[in-house]
């Protein structure tokens, strides 16, 4: 083993020992285990104030927090002991919120770009000047091009208030939320078209399941505290875990059956399972009789999907598909077919989501223990809203007659296409609020072209990101630890336990630093300057929260007195959900889509290329955490997973440095290392999403690893939902150095 002590260091230490004061004068007060200040931090529990009411936003799950504060400085975040959701636990990212709060690279003041979009030079300006500029530029766009000249890319709870303003009161239909087209859109619409009920990753009653089926979901790499607790409780209670993934994921590692499926073929696999269950009458006949519609049509349409045919298409053994189907049938209805969340994979995703909903229906796993069960969340919260204007412009997809089952908003590709071509109308103003379209939307060049042709671009964010480089005016938002914000509601995480509900508004743990302002302030000031002052629904976020809480006879003061979380008796979430399962959907067929769940094959990688798959690191929330010094210390690169046989063929070894080049000859701007493993199929490679930030203002995250989004240039748009398939690009590995 190599010695870390260099000769020079050692000699220096020896000389210091010689020069130091006689040690005999030092009296160690070495009480059991205690070491002395000031060289040792006293601990977060010593001389600190505990502030309640925090609600995390390191991801969207919103765990409830307390903050430990000493001398006005937040030292540590912990789970709120009163929480019946995350309890005292929070994940790595939750713990690292402190480092986001005090990140020296954070946006601090309003900034004006006196350089170019994409190569900014920032000049600090006053809020007055910033707001005046934003309002007058947006108004100028509206005056010249009409309201439809305005577009918006919002993300996160901070953007809901301004999004409502621009969508409802200003009235532009050009709103593109990352959480739809690049995330859960296909899933939501696929379920809606099948059960007319919106799905959620929160609806899997895993603690009480006998079988948990994960299609692509990778608990352990994807962490939400109570969600992961549910999963672990299910395993502890003896649930059988089936994981469908081309990669031996963290969940596959805990599974009983790992289905190492060929990427893109999940729907074929699901159809074969359903066909087998129907053919062998192993489905929930009673439930389907009562709740199903069009089973006969589906049965007829999918009967081609024999185990053997699917085995060939999916590249998994027929016997394994049968084993899975039998396991599901033997344990129905107590089966959790997890809906997943990020579902924009291959451009055939609506059909996969629809198939999952149909399979859940075949097993009768709605509303029953261990199945698809919406928790009985507290109701009755009050509301406030920006008023709707008289504008009711059609969305771009309505004008184009595309994506009839699109989620709300506009698919970003239509928005970009319209902006670049000016057809059917020009889009010249852009508001980006909490979203980073450079690293969320495929084909970055197209996004950049869209921005370049704008008359005005404004960004509001907490951190500099790759998109903020393209702003004309850049405004500093409050982080989730510095502002009041929307209310988190929920129930105890194990639905089978005593029924309880909780209400927890996000409350600030510390005052906003520098000149940061929250989204209610910024939006209202813009509204006043744009002539909508009389439409403002609330003056402060605090007022908004109190309006909502008043609906349940609560207030911020009362919740503070209740340690940040109001808890009340809950309701039994189990029981007939009164759904109709549309195995055949006539409306789909009317719009020219298949009426029954249908497999749409995807292209295979060309010779010498691998399909580029991406996923999550357990310590990151995509790009959002890429400058967090604590999290980057844990994981600061996204090594490319390469099958060991392929590595041998390419002459690549573990740790080699590589660049990636895609089928369109786009080369990654940066490099990464190779992770050689038998735990991935031979036809694909895998990296963590969100790395490789191009913005040099991110002094920790800049150019770390490879930006997978830069390599996703080929678009595969889901025909029903308009969401993106982002796993249809192929890459080669090129050794560097």
């Amino acid at each position: 083993m190599a010695m870390n002590l260099t000769r020079r260091t050692f000699l220096k230490a020896a000389s210091i020992a010689a020069a130091s004061v006689p040690l005999a004068n030092v009296r160690a007060k070495a009480e059991s285990g205690l070491v002395k200040a000031p060289l040792v931090a006293p601990g977060s529990f010593k001389n600190t104030q505990t502030v309640v009411g925090g609600v995390c936003e390191m991801c969207f799950w919103r765990c409830q927090l307390v903050g430990k504060i000493r001398d006005g400085r937040l030292l540590k975040l912990e789970g709120n002991p009163k929480s019946i959701d995350n309890g005292v636990s929070i994940c790595a990212r939750g713990n690292a919120g402190v480092k986001l709060l005090y990140d020296p690279d954070r946006l601090k003041y309003p900034l004006k770009n006196v350089g170019k979009r994409g190569a900014p030079k920032w000049q600090r300006i006053s809020w007055e000047e910033a707001l005046d500029t934003c309002a007058s530029k947006l108004k100028a766009v509206i005056d010249q091009y009409g309201i439809k000249g305005i577009s918006m890319f919002p993300h996160g709870s901070t953007s809901t208030y301004p999004m409502d303003f621009f969508e409802k009161t200003v009235g532009t239909p050009n709103i593109s939320e990352a959480s739809f087209a690049q995330c859960r859109g296909a899933r939501d619409t696929g379920y809606l078209a099948t059960i007319d009920y919106p799905p959620s990753e929160e609806y899997a009653d895993m603690p009480n399941s006998k079988v948990i089926l994960l299609i692509g979901s990778h608990f352990g790499e994807n962490i939400h505290v109570s969600h992961t607790k549910q999963y672990l409780k299910g395993l502890e209670n003896g649930a059988k875990l089936i994981v469908v993934d081309p990669r031996y994921s963290a969940s596959a590692a805990k599974s009983h059956i790992w289905v190492q499926i060929r990427p893109g073929t999940d729907t074929a696999w699901l159809l074969a399972i359903m066909n087998y269950l129907i053919q062998n009458k192993k489905y929930n006949i009673e439930f389907v009789k009562e709740h199903g519609e069009g089973l006969g049509k589906m049965a007829e349409g999918i009967k081609q999907w024999t185990l053997e045919k699917a085995a060939q298409e999916c590249d998994v053994p027929a016997a394994q598909i049968k084993e899975v189907a039998d396991l599901l049938a033997a344990n129905m209805p107590h089966v959790a077919i997890h809906t997943g969340r990020h579902s924009s994979w291959y451009g055939n995703d609506f059909q996969r989501a629809r198939s999952m909903a149909c399979l859940t229906g075949l097993l009768g796993a709605f509303g029953v223990k261990g199945g698809f069960v919406p928790p009985a969340n507290p109701g009755g919260l009050g509301d406030y809203s920006w008023p709707k204007s008289g504008h009711h412009d059609k969305t771009l997809q309505e004008l184009a007659g595309l994506y009839h089952f699109a989620p709300p908003g506009t698919p970003p590709d239509l928005l970009r296409e319209t902006a670049i071509t000016g057809k059917p109308y020009p889009i010249k103003g852009c508001i980006i609020w909490g979203q980073n379209p450079i690293q969320t939307i495929p084909n970055q060049e197209k996004t950049i072209k869209t921005l370049e042709q704008m008359d005005f671009v404004m960004c509001v964010d907490v951190m500099p990101t790759d998109i903020t480089m393209f702003a004309d005016i850049l405004l500093p938002d409050c982080s989730y630890l510095e502002r009041y914000d929307l209310i988190r509601t929920g129930t105890q995480w194990n639905l089978a336990e005593e029924h309880r509900q909780f209400i927890a508004p996000r409350m600030p743990l510390v005052a906003p630093g520098f000149e940061r302002k929250d989204s209610v302030y910024i939006t209202n000031e813009l509204a006043k300057r744009m002539g909508y002052g009389d439409k403002i629904p609330i003056q402060t976020q605090e007022e908004g929260i109190n309006k909502m809480l008043a609906g349940v006879q609560l207030s911020i003061e009362k919740i503070k007195a209740e340690d940040g979380i109001h808890i009340q008796p809950g309701k039994d979430p189990y029981g007939d959900m009164e759904l109709t399962i549309e195995f055949y959907n006539e409306e789909l067929e009317e719009h020219g889509y298949p009426g029954i769940p249908t497999y749409i094959p995807v292209e295979h990688p060309p010779e010498g290329y691998y399909r580029l798959l991406y996923g999550r690191s357990s310590v990151h929330t995509f790009n959002r955490t890429q400058n967090n010094a604590w999290l980057m210390a844990e994981n600061n690169i996204n090594p490319v997973w390469l099958n060991d046989k392929q590595a041998a063929k390419l002459g690549l070894k573990e740790g080699d440095t590589v660049a990636l080049i895609n089928q369109d000859n786009v080369k990654s701007r940066t490099t990464t290392t190779v992770k050689v493993t038998p735990g991935i199929r031979q036809d694909c490679v895998y990296i963590y999403h969100g790395f490789g930030s191009r913005n040099p203002e991110l002094t920790v995250g800049h150019d770390r690893g490879i930006d997978d989004q830069s390599l996703i240039t080929k678009l595969a748009v889901d025909p029903e939902s308009g969401s993106y398939g982002m796993r249809n690009n192929f890459v080669k590995l090129v050794k560097v150095g």
């Binding site: 083993m1 870390n4 002590l5 000769r7 000699l11 220096k12 230490a13 020896a14 000389s15 210091i16 020992a17 010689a18 020069a19 004061v21 040690l23 030092v26 160690a28 070495a30 009480e31 059991s32 285990g33 070491v35 002395k36 060289l39 040792v40 931090a41 006293p42 601990g43 529990f45 030292l75 540590k76 975040l77 912990e78 995350n86 005292v88 636990s89 929070i90 994940c91 939750g94 713990n95 690292a96 402190v98 480092k99 608990f219 352990g220 992961t228 672990l232 031996y248 963290a250 590692a253 790992w258 357990s618 310590v619 999290l631 210390a633 844990e634 994981n635 038998p678 735990g679 991935i680």
Partner: protein, 267 residues
């Protein structure tokens, strides 16, 4: 009493919350860590594919090699057993093993930052924070304390509290009724190898043979070669300081050391 920590790798999901909570609790600089999570695999084991985690921290060993490696001047320290009130006075350097609770602790005030203890640990559980160097030291060593200051207040160790999986269990291994002792009974083992048998009090439990295989492969396979010569010379330099207080002899010691390193390099 011997404090110990069991990590149930069946439950661990590899979220790294333990590492970050520790950093926040003890204000550990971003580039250092008192604990860690390593990903092991996916790799082929005797039972097929496996992929697991090695959440590591100081093992507060029965025979900690870091303790005798410390060259700092020894002082008398009195330890008190909280329960019985019994006291023990013994000579300790800047790192020692507590005679009552079995934890290994550090006195950073007396630490000279030489890194000898860090180098002596086969688990690499210590780091020297060079940012803390002053006129008396090259930095200060740091490691997991099993959160004794928190435990003294009735709190759980920070990593245990934040663990969403309840994969970390802390307690007294000597108490047969404790959860940690129950785990040991069930088969929780320390990360030892043929050459490394120093009685680690961190124990790992996993029901899957493949996972445990990967974990045992991650165990240190050899004891660090802390050369006797080094230790001797360290002692010499300190003895020189105290007994003769003449820089001349220290120079001699230094020269001797340089020579010995040269010899080492020549080999």
């Amino acid at each position: 009493m011997q404090y110990g920590m069991v990590i149930d790798i069946d439950r661990c999901v590899g979220c790294h919350a333990c590492v970050i909570a520790c950093k926040a609790e003890w204000e550990v600089p971003a580039q250092y860590s008192r604990d860690w999570v390593h990903r092991l695999g996916p790799a082929i084991t005797s039972t097929g594919m496996a992929y697991t985690y090695y959440p590591g921290l100081c093992n507060h060993c029965d025979s900690p090699p870091c303790v005798p490696a410390c060259p700092a001047e020894k002082v008398n320290a009195t330890f008190k057993d909280k329960k019985s009130g019994k006291t023990v006075t013994m000579e300790i350097a800047a790192t020692w093993k507590d005679p009552f609770n079995g934890t290994v602790q550090v006195d950073r005030e007396r630490c000279i930052g030489c890194g000898a203890c860090r180098d002596a640990c086969p688990y690499k559980a210590r780091y020297v924070d060079e940012g803390l160097k002053d006129e008396n030291s090259l930095g200060k060593v740091d490691k997991c304390t099993y959160c004794m200051p928190r435990v003294a207040e009735g709190l759980e160790p920070a990593c245990v509290q934040t663990c969403l999986a309840r994969a970390r269990i802390f307690g007294d291994l000597d108490d047969p009724k404790s959860e940690v002792a129950q785990y040991v009974k069930k088969g929780a083992v320390g990360l030892t190898s043929k050459a490394v048998q120093i009685g680690p009090n961190g124990r790992y439990y996993g029901s899957k043979k493949g996972d445990m295989e990967l974990l045992m492969q991650a165990a240190p396979q050899e004891m660090p070669k802390v050369s006797l010569r080094r230790s001797l010379l360290t002692q010499m330099s300190l003895t020189a300081k105290h007994q003769i207080k003449e820089i001349g002899l220290l120079g001699l010691a230094g020269a001797l050391l340089v020579k010995s390193f040269q010899e080492e390099e020549e080999k």
